[in-house]
Amino acid sequence: MAIISLPDGHRTWRRFTPRAQILRWFGYLIGVAVFVWCWNRISEATTWFFVWDAPRIAGDILTRATPPRWSYMEKLWWPIWDTINIATLGTIAALVMAVPVAFMAARNTTPQISVSPVVIRMIPPFLRPVLMTSTGQDSYTIGPIRPIALLIIVSTRSINSLIWALLLIAIIGPGVFAGIVAIAIRSIGFCAKLLYEAIEEIDHGQVEAVTATGGSRWQVMAYGIVPQIMPAFAGIAVFRWDINIRESTVLGLVGAGGIGLQLSSSLNVLAWPQVSLILLVILLAVVISEWVSAKVRGAII
């Protein structure tokens, strides 16, 4: 915010100082330049003839796809059941694996050792937020396992479930089981991240109260920490289940079971009425699971 003098002597209010204004415009200029460059690269790789033809193709597909072939529904019940199982069993397996990871990643529950400031100075600055768990006047603690937990979280989270499915199909063969494992691995990072943030936000007084009664480390965990994170845990579980229903509907595209398998085979033979029916089913599944998840989360929180 700045008051600046105009050339004719008047003083007026501007939101930014001239310097900030120029910097902002320069930033926008770079942004536009990058975008134009990216767009040119995309445009080079595009066959524009197909794009100009697109409205006709889209209309063509739409007429072929309507009406959906309702009789195909009887072949979809079993894949739908498989899809729900992939999502549910995958979520359960993910939660089982995410809990220990979350406890190892949370600053207040990860195993830690106190060290002297000398050791802290030896850690590179960008590693300090990852390693250090508390700072006092002259006492510092570091959690040696925490970086491993964080690495598990970031690496499982950053790889899409379809890629995990591809990998698992190459290893254990196509089928529902590969889908379950893919969903499970993919969800670890997400669940563990939200869970460890919940653990870090707990009320420390309750933990101290249980400790004061002479509770062991495990009793402190069971009676001081777990009841506090239980609502968050249930919320995370349902939230991830909702996402997993979405993801498991398309896992079949790479051969990992569920309704995506039918979608893929219908697309391969260009059976558009079947494709449109499957897409409707997927849309319905997504809407229902979102509704269920919103209801359950509303009831918990």
Binding site: F35, T46, T47, V51, I61, W81, S158, G173, F177, L253
Partner: protein, 272 residues
Amino acid sequence: MAAGGDLDLLIGTRWKKPPFIRRAWLRWLLILGTGAYLVAAVASVEVNWARVYEGLERGAAFVAAFGDPDFTSRWQDIRDGMLESVIMTIASTVAGILISIPIGLGAARNIAPLPVYLVCRGIIAISRALQEIIVAILLVAIFGFGPLAGFLTLSFATIGFLSKLLAEDIESMDRVQAEAIRATGASWLQWVNYGVQPQVMPRLVGLSMYRLDINFRESAILGLVGAGGIGATLNTAFDRYEFDTAAAILILIIGTVMALEYISGIIRAKVQ
């Protein structure tokens, strides 16, 4: 927990942890229902354990490949694929943000008239209900193979994500500031620019960075259906059991996501 007279009954009895769900019938219904479902679900999953056992060896080979990733033998393909992914990510995030701002404004009930609100909410609902990969399949069928389909897919997905969160942010903004600007006699545009925008800007920047991150991750799979990016190379590597090349690509993806998260953390700390 118990007051007055109830306390006498409790003295001498052993304390028990209160159950998570208080209504007993609901608790038992949930437990039994879950148990029955789990039995049915597990029973219906066919697992070929012999095949899994055979696969363990390949799994070990893959894990070992992470220790010795092969960046060189397919470097040309990896480089082109990564570059295309990055280009699609940047272009679609920029386009997505530009389109989501007007839609987000329209989807906020406190500044948009009802018809505009309903149309914008409708667009958001459609965009959020369709997964990226399905949109990509349809767009590839319509526009042909290549990064244009991927660009359009990611832009479309970005619109649903950003507009919804932006609209929610605008709906929960501080009315007083906006009113103060209006009281000076500002036009609608000035009102949005000086009364609304400064309030939602920090969060918009944070969300945009987060979406950039998501778009990059999604761009890695669009190649599976022919919509451009690193996915096609990755798929080929898996199909040919070239685990060392696949490991190299995965390491690049994880590294990029980590770098993006680090940068977005810094930027978010700056704007807030």
